[in-house]
Amino acid sequence: MIEKEFIGRESESVVLKIRLEEVRRFAEAIGISFDGDAVPVTYVGTLLQANIPGFELTNPGMIHGEQKITHYRPLSVGDSLSYKRSIKDIYERTSKLGKMVFVVIETTGYDLAGELVFSSSSTLITPVKGDADEESV
C-alpha cells in the first residue's frame, strides 16, 4: 500500500557520467538520428537507479499518467551529473474506473558544481484493489 507518509522521502544522490553507448542505444531504440553529442530530451527518464528507501514502485497495473521534463541547460554526452529522486505528492482520486492512487515522483539533476541541469516529474497511477478487500478486514 502506498501511504501519504512517504511524501517528502528522497533517495541518496547518484553520480554518473552520460555515456555515449547508452545514449546511442536509447536513440536507436526510439528510431532517431544521434549526432554523438546532444542527449535526447527524454533520456533523463531512464535515470531510475536512485532508490527511494522503503518505497516499492512496481505495483501491478500501474500506469504512467503524466511526465514533465525541464532542461535548464543542454545535456551532452560526457557530462557528469548528480541526481536524486523524491516523492512530491501522493493522493487519491475516484474516476469511472474506480479509486486510483496518484504518486508524483520528481528527479532532479545537477552538474558537479551544483547547478540545476534538469528536473523531471512523473505521475504514476495505480488502481486501488476493490472495496471488497476493505470490507473483509
Binding site: P40, L48, Q67, K68
Partner: protein, 133 residues
C-alpha cells in the same frame, strides 16, 4: 524549409507518424531499463486489467520529442516538454503527432502538442518550449 524565426503564433508544426512494434518496445525496455511486464508480457498485462501489452508512455513521449527535434533542427533545443498520457498506446497502433505555436516570448517558442491514434482518440497532449539558439 521554413526557418524557426518565420513561425508565427497559431502556425501548425510538421506532423510525424509512428507505429510502435513489439520489437521496438522490447528495444526501448532494454535501452531505458524499464522492464515492467505490462510492456513485455501480454498475459500479465491482461491479468492486471490493461487488456494486453502497452507501449511505454516514455517511448510515446520520445516520439513526440523526435517530431519537435526534426522540426527545429540545429536552430534550437527543447527546454521543456510536459505531457499527459490520455489513452493507452499499443503495438501496431498508428499514431500521428502534431502541434501548433501557442505563444512566442523572447527566444522561447511555446507549442501546444498532441498525438492521436487511428481511432481519432487523443493519446497524448501537452506543451513544449523551444529555446531558439
Amino acid at each position: 524549409m521554413k526557418s524557426l524565426s518565420n513561425y508565427q503564433v497559431s502556425d501548425h508544426l510538421p506532423s510525424r507518424e509512428w507505429v510502435p512494434t513489439h520489437v521496438q518496445i522490447r528495444q526501448y525496455a532494454e535501452a531505458s531499463g524499464d522492464f515492467n511486464p505490462i510492456h513485455l508480457d501480454d498475459n500479465y498485462a491482461r491479468q492486471v486489467g490493461l487488456g494486453g501489452m502497452i507501449a511505454h508512455g516514455m517511448l510515446t513521449m520520445a516520439q513526440m520529442a523526435a517530431m519537435l527535434s526534426e522540426w527545429i533542427g540545429k536552430e534550437g533545443r527543447i527546454s521543456k516538454l510536459d505531457v499527459r498520457f490520455e489513452q493507452i498506446v499499443r503495438p501496431e497502433d498508428k499514431i500521428t503527432f502534431g502541434g501548433s505555436i501557442s505563444a512566442r516570448s523572447g527566444n522561447i517558442i511555446m507549442c501546444d502538442i498532441k498525438a492521436f491514434n487511428d481511432k481519432e482518440e487523443r493519446v497524448l497532449a501537452g506543451l513544449a518550449h523551444i529555446l531558439q539558439q
